[in-house]
Symmetry: C2
Subunit: 142 residues, 2 copies
DNA sequence: AGAAACCTTGTACCCGCTATAGGGTCAATC
DNA sequence: GATTGACCCTATAGCGGGTACAAGGTTTCT
């Protein structure tokens, strides 16, 4: 199949396939006489694998290592485990940061009562005070 | 004060200050005869405001809009609220995605028993099967 | 034969910085 | 007064993970 069909079946853009090839995530495929890339089912499987890892938010470098590892059947499975664990740790750290962020924004939004003008906006006041290192909102009368 | 002091007091890199100026987040400051930027306390406050919004993960374009709004005291506060609410929605969506990601990775990692070789690695098997659209892990012997 | 749909390479763009190169300026010290 | 070192300037390129062009070649359909 040609690149367009491969891309369509994997649900990615054509450019993305070429980008993955450049980055070594997909092997350079054979070409027709006129230079068109031709792929087989195996290439589709590999692309799907890459995409699935991407939906798990793994960086491309990590996916590349995973692909390398999977080709060496003798390597202890621990190496794979370590890679996934490290990724999981990063995801959990990001999750915690995002949760704190969510609560900050939610409480910020609660500052805004309808009908007010920007001049009296609680959100802006809060943001400005927070930016000045004031722990608690305390209107200084301005 | 010069750019180095401003940056130090706001806890950012000097390049970041210049980057914000180019992006219109900070006003172009006055210059000394030799071309050095000179800032006042007001500039520091504004930079702190920007940084605080950044710790809330707001994109620079949004911070710029917020700064614009805050200069127009007549604008209804709702506009600010809408902006923050939209951001909160995005953060919550990201949070949900990350939570699902976390559980996927955690269950993935549970596939790996120690002492195995990559040839029998549960993680890789799972990733490959998942990539092929198989809902449940089912080792085909291979 | 001509149009539409595909393919090719190469390049530039997005975000929010960060880093580097290649200079100029300023204050202190020898 | 010359040098050192810390600071400042502009311009440019890089990161990751793509996306979007431009400018052309090929294939397929009518």
């Amino acid at each position: 199949m040609k690149i367009g069909e491969l891309a369509r079946r994997a649900g990615v853009e054509v450019q993305t396939v070429r980008y993955y090839e450049r980055g070594g995530l997909l092997e350079a495929p054979s070409r027709t006489a006129s230079g068109y890339r031709t792929y087989g089912e195996h290439d589709l499987e590999r692309l799907n694998f890459v995409r699935h890892c991407r939906t798990l938010d793994m960086p491309l470098a990590e996916i590349r290592r995973l692909l390398d590892l999977s080709r060496q059947a003798q390597v202890p499975c621990e190496d794979v485990d370590r890679l996934v664990s490290a990724h999981l740790d990063r995801v959990r750290a990001k999750l915690a940061a995002l949760q704190s962020l969510e609560s900050q924004l939610a409480s910020l939004r609660a500052q805004c009562a309808s009908g007010k003008r920007v001049a009296d906006c609680g959100i802006l006041a809060e943001l400005i005070h927070a930016a000045q290192g004031v722990a608690c909102v305390r209107h200084t009368g301005s």
